[in-house]
Amino acid sequence: MNIYYFARIRENIGISSEELTLPSGVVTVSELISFLEDKGNNYKSAFAESDLIRVAVNNDYVGLDYKITDKDEIAIFPPMTGG
């Protein structure tokens, strides 16, 4: 799966995207985020406030309990501030 990061979350983590094999035991977006947090403090700080995380799977916004597969394209970003 490909994961894309935007804005503050991209800067906190330090990369704009990465490729990953869906880790065993990870079913939902929320579990993926927990898995990523274990990768290091950069991820921990990026995801520190769960209120400030928004996710899209295959270019559609989803909730944190959305079920993902290894073929999905995941995007993780803070609340939007366009307009």
Partner: protein, 149 residues
Amino acid sequence: MRVSVQAEDFNIGEEIEKLRQGRTDLGAIVTFTGLVRDIHGDHVIRKMTLEHFPAMAEKELIKIGEQAKTRWPLENLTIIHRYGPLFPGDNIVLVITASHHREAAFEAAQFMMDWLKTDAPFWKKEETDNGEHWVDAKEGDDIKRDRWT
């Protein structure tokens, strides 16, 4: 419906012309233009960089436009959102609505702006006299959007 996500500036007068050209059935045209301000709270803004999610940005703007069209009798509409580095006084976003009636044109433009703020995948970073920082989403913006639901 014309939707564009672009780095280049837009010309409001020209965009209005495109949308009304050759038509004599429009009674009301409303435009909203969002601009970069030189002050935010206590800080002087030197520059604002708009990051966007290319794969989703245009799609989400189209979705907002389509929603507006199902809710109000719009004859035509335009949504343009810029990205990249911008400076005080620069245009950020343009929404134009054309309808037979003024209420529809006004309300649909407000609706689209409220939804754009919370649902279009754009993020603002400000360069101020006090350093760089990402603009926080306002809780009030969710409330403004949700009054339409």
